[in-house]
Amino acid sequence: MSDQSYLSLEKLTLAYGDSVAVADLDLSVRRGELIALLGPSGCGKTTTMRAIAGLLPVKSGNVILDGEDMTRTAPNKRAVGLVFQSYALFPHLSVYENVAFGLRLKGMKGAELDSKVQSGIASVGLAKFADRKPAELSGGQQQRVALARSMVMEPKVLLLDEPLSNLDARLRLEMRTELQRVQRETGVTMIFVTHDQAEALSLADRIVVMKNGAIEQIGTPEDIYNRPTSSFVADFVGFENIFALEGGGLKTDNGSVPLSVAPGLEAPSAAGLAWRPRMVTLGTGPFRGTVRGTSFAGHSREYLLDSALGPIKAEVDASEPVHVSGSDLSFDLPVHKAAQLSRIA
């Protein structure tokens, strides 16, 4: 087993009946890494997670964990933990018994069991609640019970389904800190599924962006945020002005519009270019646009422009001069700031 691929998915294909949900997916996860599977609903992220857990049979391909082929291993023999989005606590059992459940099945009992369960409950700050039933806990507390219940089993991989999406803003920060602490203290490999890019950016070591059952891009949060490689990822992380390149110019509905490349710079060879609204320069540049709408956003002001390129979204500091709706102005899409896309959907 190499440390580079503690968990490997090789040419993984998953299907519900005849409809393929994930096709030929390859992914290597390092030991101790925190990975986010990011994408809109229906992209196959949850399906992939369920296949890693063994809850969904694999159609073809392999799941290798810690040097062992787990593809056909039953889910109860995999040493993979899963914190469900709904937490899935056993409603008839106390917090203590929920956490003890898996350990008892392993045959652990007596003082060893008790000390493990107690320290598991204490580690998520719920020592006082050991005798409560799940229904008597808040959502955040239930989630921490679910986390403790999985973690006392010392899983090789901990999977989390939308771990922050059911929590309010304050609890979200608390849980994010909690997950980072667990990862730091135990070194467990974690994979979490989310549709929220902010969640993925703030928590993950690496982000796997998925779309239609395939990986769109893998990279660090900085890579994904600053250097999206496809129009899908660019759009997902807020590059709202996306253009395909055609004959050295930007492709629009009315043909190709030539780019202005600053002297000394090479013309881009990518399939497309994308700009965040923040990257658009107003008041100067080779393009002309008409202000269609504007809105004040505190520290900045957002504009929607109509231009020969189609609609353009721009965002400038609130301290800049205001352009009223209907006014004509020039703007620039600086090529050196653009994300270079190799794939345009």
């Binding site: 857990a53 809850l55 995999r78 933990g81 899963l82 469900f84 056993f90 459940f101 999985s150």
Partner: protein, 260 residues
């Protein structure tokens, strides 16, 4: 008071009288000191209540009814729990048809069920009376068992089973460790509902009863054709109080009405 404000209380009173009145008459009649079943009762005595316990055929038919109610309900649950589980957890081809077939005995009038069982099952295959009654009662209770158990399964998230499996349990183990304890209330409710349904069953039992083997309600009808004394009223009262007691206990301890 206006006519409008009297309308609701009056309606309620009439409705209650209509529903509970006959029952009160039977209870009153069972304490009669007279020789025939009559209302208002003549005098007061416990003789007919006591007589119920001395009639040999009542004892035998009571035992038969108890056997059918308990055994039939248990059998219906053994079939019904897995059926409910499959119907609620898996997308089965023809699930709707199965649901319909399972609930058919509720929809088809008992007299038709009884007649067709007698004509097309019991007589041609020479099925014994006790076995025929047992099978018929099981079939009659099954719809209730499936319905009540399904209701409590639908209230239970299925991902707790997956959670149990990922913590090391087998699929079957997960069913017994985390599903059964959480649908216990539904199963007990189904049991009580099945028990009462079976115990009060007349039309089907009427066709299937035979010489020496009868359920209690059938035996009471036969008794009344020969002897018209208040002991039948006394027995009816006793049974009614037994049913009321069971349902009250169920509601008190299990929240019975949540499931039916």
């Amino acid at each position: 008071m206006t006519a409008r404000s009297l309308f609701v209380p009056t309606t309620l009173f009439l409705l209650a009288t209509f529903l509970i009145g006959p029952f009160l008459i039977i209870v009153a009649a069972s304490f009669s000191a007279g020789e025939t079943l009559s209302f208002p009762p003549q005098g007061f005595s416990l003789q007919w209540i006591l007589k119920v316990f001395t009639v040999e055929s009542f004892r035998a038919s009571f035992a038969m009814s108890m056997f059918l109610a308990i055994g039939g309900t248990a059998a219906a649950l053994v079939l019904g729990i897995p059926a409910s589980y499959a119907l609620s957890r898996y997308r089965l081809p023809g699930a709707e048809i199965i649901r319909t077939i399972v609930s058919a005995p509720i929809i088809v009038p008992g007299i038709i069920v009884g007649l067709s069982l007698l004509r097309y099952v019991v007589v041609p295959f020479g099925v014994g009376i006790t076995l025929a009654l047992f099978l018929a009662h099981t079939a009659l209770i099954l719809p209730y068992a499936v319905r009540v158990v399904s209701a409590s399964l639908d209230n239970l998230r299925s991902d707790i089973e997956e959670a149990a499996v990922l913590l090391g349990s087998s699929r079957l183990g997960a069913f017994f460790r985390v599903v059964m304890p959480n649908i216990k209330g539904g199963i007990l409710s189904a049991f009580i509902l099945g028990f009462v349904t079976s115990f009060n069953q007349v039309p089907v039992s009427l066709f299937l009863s035979g010489p020496g083997v009868r359920t209690l309600p059938i035996d009471m009808m036969a008794y009344m054709e020969i002897v018209f004394d208040p002991s039948v009223a006394a027995l009816s009262s006793l049974l009614a109080f037994l049913s009321i007691g069971i349902v009250f206990a169920a509601e008190r301890f299990l929240g019975f009405s949540r499931y039916v």
